[in-house]
Amino acid sequence: MLINLNLNFLVSSCCFMKNPLLFLGLIILCYRVTGQDFTEKKVIPLEFSQGLISAPGSPELYVGQITVSPQFRLGGPLRAGITAGGFYTARRLSGLAGPRIALKVVQLPKLFTAETGNLHVSADYLFGTGGQQLLGGGIHADIAELLILSLSYRRDLHTPANWFQFGIAYHLSRAKIPTDIRSNPVDIR
């Protein structure tokens, strides 16, 4: 029951994404209004997501997915990388991978001089081992560099179907703050 409610929420939340122009317009609007730089040079979020696959004339299928998405800051509010992982649906495990790009759109308010997080949108094009060609993206809330909550929509171009997912991700690797700052060797010239 709870899962069904969540899936219905996901479907309704992602309806605007069915119109790519509307989605693109939203990204541009957000960027123009509040775009700011990503803080981290490199991130590796490990994401677990679940949702449904909806195709005309077929029952909705549950999909669970685990991916890792190493990304590097390109400069400004953009970062790019790849997504790779696997998913489970219709009692089958499959792999997927492909390029990903993300755009930071909103900086959340600061607390004691520190950022509390950001909202960013992403676009990716993932190729599945079962022939899937998933084109889409999502909106993500990065909470204090600890967790990322995501809503995503992708269109399977190979087998026309819509994938809606909700995900939670953990930053596997972040630039560690050194516990002791080392001095540079003294230049004696």
Partner: protein, 345 residues
């Protein structure tokens, strides 16, 4: 002996540099003090002040940006790291500015230099000194003897705990140090104990009665936590002046009594005998004057240096520097060099 003492405040140090600019132009050369003592941003300023590098200080405090000082991170680092932000860029900045040649001149100078920090292991207030100095009940002295120790002491003194990581100044794995402002924001006492007779002290916060922390009612715990931290810090800053002010009053009182006795016909020998009959508690503290300079407004707002002075914005820093220059002009009037006059105690 004259001392220059500069407190903490991050980018608000631009105010202090504005004061120094006026002092150097109209009061006395910046490098002509006998004792230099600093905390936090004051620790970044006083070594260059000792060298008389006013142009360099002005350039630094009107052009430095956030990324020159900190790798700023998210609040979540409180749960996973040693600090919220990373101060590695600040050490690189210090290493660029305090070159081996400048560091060698500082270390070789006969002038006394004190940079304050607090030990995380013992909670002691520690003054990093370039010359051997006796410790007191109130603080420890750690003598620094190498260029790297000088650079790292400047860094440690500037690293506000929680915001920036503590520093192992001597790289021996025994003791970490953080911003001396935790215990003493404007490090006057070490200058008093070192024999200063006159002190020019610069603090970055307004006097208690002039400070307005908030103009609205609080509704969030985080805001009240910010208020609590700021209140502790303000209290530390106010306390720094109490004992030195009292010493000035005592010395002025003793001098007035002596003068009165002599004018009344008491022989100088009797006066001296009388005053030496009991040990004066201020015998080794001949301080007679403190010139205290502070901004009249709170520079910790977004309009200036932000929370903790952690916002380094060249435009805002230039504004604070101009405020400091004007404050010094108002305080000292327009004296010739070496003639401190107005606003002193």
């Amino acid at each position: 002996m004259k001392a220059l003492v500069i407190g903490g405040g991050g980018s608000k140090g631009a105010f202090a540099v504005g004061v120094l600019k006026f002092i150097h132009q109209r009061v006395q050369p910046l490098g002509s003090f006998d004792i230099y003592s600093g905390t936090s941003t004051g620790s970044l300023i006083v070594p260059l002040a000792l060298l008389g590098e006013i142009d360099m200080l002005e350039q630094i405090y009107t052009s430095t940006r956030n990324e020159d000082i900190l790798n700023k991170r998210s609040i979540g680092r409180l749960l996973t790291d040693i600090s919220i932000h990373d101060a590695t860029p600040l050490l690189r900045f210090i290493e660029r500015e305090i070159t081996p040649a400048r560091a060698a001149r500082i270390m070789a100078s006969p002038k006394r230099l004190y940079l304050s920090g607090v030990s995380l292991q013992t909670q002691d207030l520690v003054h990093f000194a370039t010359k051997p100095t006796p410790a007191t009940d109130a603080y420890r002295i750690r003598t620094i003897s190498t260029i790297q120790q000088l650079q790292r002491a400047m860094l440690a003194s500037s690293c506000q705990p929680i915001y920036m990581q503590p520093v192992d100044v001597f790289s021996d794995g025994r003791e970490q140090f953080c911003d001396g402002g935790v215990r003493e924001n404007t490090p006057l006492q070490v200058a008093v104990d070192a024999g200063a007779t006159e002190i020019i002290a610069i603090s970055m916060g307004p006097k208690l009665g002039q400070n307005v922390f908030s103009t609205s009612l609080f509704s969030k715990a985080t805001a009240i936590l910010g208020f609590t931290i700021d209140t502790f810090s303000t209290d530390v800053g106010q306390n720094d002046y109490r004992l030195p002010d009292f010493i000035v009053e005592v010395n002025q009182y003793l001098a007035a009594v002596k003068t009165q006795l002599l004018r009344s016909g008491v022989s100088p020998a009797v006066v001296e005998t009388g005053f030496s009959a009991a040990t004066s508690p201020v015998k080794h503290m001949p301080l007679v004057k403190i010139d205290e300079l502070r901004p009249d407004i709170n520079l910790g707002t977004d309009e200036f240096g932000g929370d903790g002075g952690l916002n380094f914005d060249p435009v805002k820093m230039k504004r604070m520097l101009d405020l400091g220059f004007e404050k010094a002009k108002q305080h000292f009037g327009n004296p010739g060099r070496g003639n401190l006059i107005a606003g002193s105690r």
